[in-house]
Every structure is written in structure tokens, then in C-alpha cells.
């Protein structure tokens, strides 16, 4: 399906006092692709997520979603428009059950659908358990399906593989490809684990100091001298 319904960044900049968190970002996502964001800590990746989801305002430039600018829209409005996310530090609703976590995201009472979604990440047994009582990895999975429960078209994942062992990372990769097809999603993913990103993503953008220093297929990006310099230092 050819998408005009995709995410566009036009000269997006965000400044916090003296700090330029994002600097003239301009690129677009193709509908249905898995697009990766990598870069050192503090490069602005989570800030970008915050702007896209309406938590932070852009200082200049804009984000366009489905052909319209997102400026001034509230996070819950953007969610209704099809953008969902997970968080770098897990933010499940700890005092609520897993099913309730999903029902909130779905916006209605539908236990059956909630359990189905939990099934995707093998959490259906823990439906009535409080989210706070789950293990770390389980909470990450819960956060993922909670985002799915909002019926998004664009899914933003902030370090979904953090704290996972290689087996879990492999399962995550398979899972992401599956849900991309099943739910017809475009996925924007921040991750530090570069090999995973190389295998998973259709395209990558590398951020450093808020600026996009390279963008393209994993192969292209890997061989980009600017990227090598940013990650490994000069003369590597």
C-alpha cells in the first residue's frame, strides 16, 4: 500500500534554554517500514519521540502526520490520530491489572480483545495480575501491546530491547516483524543494540547532538564515515 499517510519532519528543531536538543531534522517515513534511530545518549532521540507524541513543543519546524501538522495537538489527540509509543523507562500502570492497562488504551471494556493482545506477547496468563507485579521483561512486553491496543498506524518504540538477553532480542525481532504485517504498522524504533537494528530496520537515521548525520539503509549507514567517526572517534 503506497502511503501518503506517513510521518514527515520538516526542519524540526527543539531548543531547551541553552541546549539544542534537535537541530533541523528533515526526513520522512514510508508507510509500513521499520525505521531505526540510533545515536549516542543525549543525541535527541527520545526528544524526537516527545515532539511527535505532543509532549514537547517544537521550537521551529514541524512534524506532519497524515498530511497535517501536529503542532498544538495534545498527546491524547495524537493517540486518537494513530500514533502510539512505549517509553525508555517503563511506564505501565503499576496498580492496575494487565487487562485494565490494555482496556484504558483501547478506551472501552473488552476483556476478550485485551486477552487476545496479551496472548501475542504470551502474557495472557497474567491478565488479572497487577502490572507492577510483573518481571521487568514482562512489563516491557505489556507496554508494547498496550501501545498496540490503541490501534495505531505509527508505533514509536523507545529502547524496547533494553535489558533483554540475546534470546529475548531474537524473539522481539520476530515479534516486531509479525505485528508490522498483522497490524499494518509503520514502526519507528530507538535502540542501542546495533546488530539488532541492522537486521530489523529497513532504514536507519543516525542522530548526534540533535542533528541527523546519516540516513539510509543499514548497509549505507554502517559505512558512512561520519557515523564511524561519531561512534568510534576519529581515525578509526
Amino acid at each position: 500500500m503506497i502511503g501518503s499517510t506517513s510521518l514527515e519532519l520538516n526542519g524540526l528543531s527543539v531548543r531547551f534554554g541553552g541546549l539544542q536538543a534537535l537541530d533541523q531534522l528533515s526526513f520522512s517515513l514510508q508507510q509500513g517500514e521499520i525505521f531505526g534511530l540510533i545515536g549516542p545518549n543525549g543525541a535527541g532521540k527520545t526528544t524526537l519521540f516527545n515532539v511527535i507524541t505532543g509532549l514537547t513543543a517544537a521550537t521551529s519546524g514541524e512534524v506532519r502526520w497524515q498530511g497535517k501538522t501536529t503542532a498544538g495537538l495534545r498527546p491524547d489527540q495524537l493517540c486518537d490520530l494513530g500514533i502510539a509509543r512505549t517509553f525508555q523507562n517503563i511506564r505501565v500502570f503499576s496498580d492496575l491489572s494487565c487487562i485494565d492497562n490494555l482496556q484504558i488504551a483501547m478506551g472501552c471494556n473488552d476483556r476478550r480483545a485485551a486477552l487476545e493482545l496479551l496472548g501475542i506477547v504470551e502474557l495472557q496468563e497474567k491478565g488479572t495480575h497487577l502490572a507492577g507485579s510483573l518481571a521487568y521483561g514482562e512489563q516491557r512486553r505489556l507496554e508494547l501491546v498496550r501501545a498496540l491496543a490503541t490501534k495505531p498506524q505509527l508505533l514509536l518504540l523507545d529502547e524496547p530491547a533494553a535489558g533483554m538477553n540475546p534470546v529475548e532480542k531474537q524473539k522481539l525481532q520476530v515479534l516486531l516483524n509479525t505485528i508490522r504485517k498483522q497490524f499494518q504498522l509503520t514502526i519507528l524504533i530507538i535502540e542501542h543494540h546495533v546488530p539488532l537494528m541492522m537486521k530489523l530496520c529497513d532504514r536507519l537515521a543516525v542522530l548526534n547532538f540533535g542533528r541527523c548525520i546519516a540516513i539510509g539503509s543499514p548497509q549505507e549507514v554502517q559505512e558512512d564515515p561520519l557515523v564511524i567517526e561519531a561512534y568510534l572517534g576519529r581515525g578509526a
Binding site: 527520545t46 519521540f49 516527545n50 509532549l55 517509553f87 525508555q88
Partner: protein, 311 residues
């Protein structure tokens, strides 16, 4: 013109007391991130302690009726002693109402409740022991000094007001120097900035918190004594309005900001002084109006850090 300046003088001297009091809130807030709702009660203690140390006799309604201290201290000593005694009360409050919650990492709401409980106990103990009536400090405390001094241009200042200004100003100066120049002062600031890192650097954050409480309570006690000097003690509940106004100063200056508390107190004191006599009944609302406006327009106040949430 003279009237204007006179009001300014009035405003600054009461403002100095507000600042002293609010500094206590600020110190505790900066190291613990919570507001100590027993602060007003400690202030009240300071007022009553000052009365006792000046040799005052307990009124006939309390359990300690007609008792008095066998010694009478001069004003300066009495104020300082009252401050130290208040500091001990403050430390007791910390140990009983705050430390157990700290150990558990309890949510801020609970500190609110326990400190309120402590405040209720303190105020009612005072009532039990001293009775509910008003107390006036002995009228001869100023000794041979006149009650009112002329300071030129037709201005007058009550000696008591001058005292408030001097004591308040000097105390704040000492506090500032201590915070910024001394090792323990800097350690306190470190804990205020980031408790975990401070601990990793070997600073005993528990001790620093106790230190903050002790100093804060000393300041509260001292300001209580100063207020008792300037107006009389209305009863065990007279500290409540100061407690609430202190919140106004705290917010105006910025939660956790020492210079903010100092400036905020002066601003509110001066503004109150300029409320026209016809509207004097609404004077008390000044601090709260400030408070509310600041919160709506600029919650971090003058010098505080904007409340931002990290995603």
C-alpha cells in the same frame, strides 16, 4: 512621602520575619522535597519559649499555671535559646514524623499528613501546658531603650521593628555565608541538589537532613520569638496563619531557593504594608493572592527550577 517610606519600613521589617520563617520551609524542601507542615507549630514554640526564657509567668489556664523559670535571660540570649529549643523540637519532629517515612521511600502525601499530625500534637501540648489565652512579652524587655526611634526625615521606627530587621538581616547573612562557604553548608546544598550522588560522594544525607531540620527549626523559633516581640502571642493557634503565609513566600521565591525565600518574604511583607487601611481586613489575603497568581503564571516562582517531568 514620609508615609510611603514609613510603610516601606514597616513592610521590610515584617518581611524580614516572613523570610526567616520561609527559609525554614525552603531548607527542608530542598533536601527532602516535601513541605513540613509542622513548621508553623515550631514557630509557635519559638514564641512561647521566648516568653518563658524572658522570665514570663505561665497563665492560669494551663497545667503549668503560675510557673516560671527560676532564671531570667536578657532578650538576645532568650531569643537564641528559644531558637535552639525550637531546633530540638524540629529534630524531634524529623525523627518521629519524617525519618520512618524516608526509610521506606513513602510518597510525599504521607509526609504531609504526619507532619500535620506532629503540628497538631505540638500546638495542643502548648495549649495544655500554657493555656489558650493570649500572652504579651514583658514590657520592660527593651530596658532603657525608647520604644520608638526617630531616624530622620520624620520617620519613626519602633525599636522592636529595628530589632527584627537587624536580627533577621544578620541571620540571613550568616546563613548565606555558611551555606556557600562552609563544608557542611556545601554538603547540605549537595544533598539538596542530588541526594544519591551526594551519598555516593560520602556525604551522610541522613545527617544533612537532620541538620537542615535543625537550622530550619531554629529559624522558625527565632522568627516566632521576633513576632512575639512585635505583636503579642494570640494563643497557641497564632502560628497557623504564619505557616500558611510562609507557603506563599516559599512559592513566590521558588521552592528550594534560599535567595528566593529571602526576597519573597520582603516582597510580601512590603505589599501587605501598602494595603490601604480601608481594606486592612483583606491584608491576610495578599500573601495568598500572590501565591495563587505565581502558581498559575510561573509555578517555579522567582528563582526556583521549573517543574519538569523527565520522560
Amino acid at each position: 512621602m514620609e508615609v510611603w517610606l514609613q510603610l516601606l519600613v514597616n513592610g521590610i521589617s515584617i518581611g524580614a520575619v516572613y523570610s526567616l520563617f520561609a527559609l525554614g520551609y525552603t531548607l527542608v524542601f530542598s533536601v527532602l522535597g516535601v513541605i513540613n507542615f509542622a513548621h508553623g507549630a515550631v514557630f509557635t514554640c519559638g514564641a512561647y519559649f521566648t516568653y518563658i526564657f524572658l522570665g514570663g509567668v505561665v497563665g492560669s489556664n494551663g497545667l503549668l499555671a503560675t510557673q516560671k523559670l527560676p532564671v531570667t535571660f536578657p532578650l538576645a540570649i532568650a531569643l537564641v535559646l528559644a531558637g535552639f529549643t525550637a531546633a530540638m523540637v524540629g529534630l524531634l519532629v524529623e525523627t518521629v514524623a519524617f525519618k520512618p517515612l524516608r526509610r521506606r521511600g513513602a510518597e510525599p502525601l504521607l509526609y504531609l499528613i504526619t507532619s500535620l499530625g506532629a503540628g497538631v500534637i505540638i500546638v495542643n501540648l502548648i495549649q495544655l501546658l500554657m493555656g489558650a489565652e493570649a500572652y504579651a512579652l514583658p514590657s520592660n524587655i527593651l530596658g532603657s531603650m525608647p520604644a520608638v526611634l526617630a531616624i530622620g526625615h520624620g520617620l519613626q521606627i519602633r525599636t522592636v521593628q529595628l530589632l527584627l530587621l537587624i536580627v533577621g538581616g544578620v541571620t540571613m547573612l550568616i546563613l548565606n555565608i555558611w551555606l556557600n562557604q562552609s563544608l557542611s553548608g556545601k554538603a547540605l546544598q549537595a544533598v539538596a541538589e542530588d541526594t544519591t550522588t551526594a551519598r555516593l560522594l560520602g556525604i551522610n544525607s541522613g545527617a544533612m537532613i537532620q541538620l537542615a531540620f535543625a537550622i530550619a527549626s531554629f529559624l522558625a523559633g527565632l522568627s516566632g520569638g521576633l513576632v512575639a516581640l512585635s505583636v503579642n502571642i494570640g494563643g497557641p493557634y497564632f502560628g497557623i496563619s504564619y505557616g500558611l503565609k510562609g507557603l506563599g513566600v516559599l512559592v513566590l521565591g521558588g521552592l528550594g531557593s534560599v535567595p528566593g525565600a529571602m526576597l519573597g518574604g520582603l516582597i510580601i511583607g512590603i505589599t501587605e504594608a501598602f494595603v490601604p487601611a480601608k481594606l486592612s481586613a483583606y491584608k491576610d489575603a495578599v500573601a495568598f493572592a500572590f501565591l495563587f497568581l505565581v502558581l498559575i503564571i510561573r509555578p517555579q516562582g522567582l528563582f526556583g527550577k521549573p517543574p519538569i517531568e523527565k520522560v
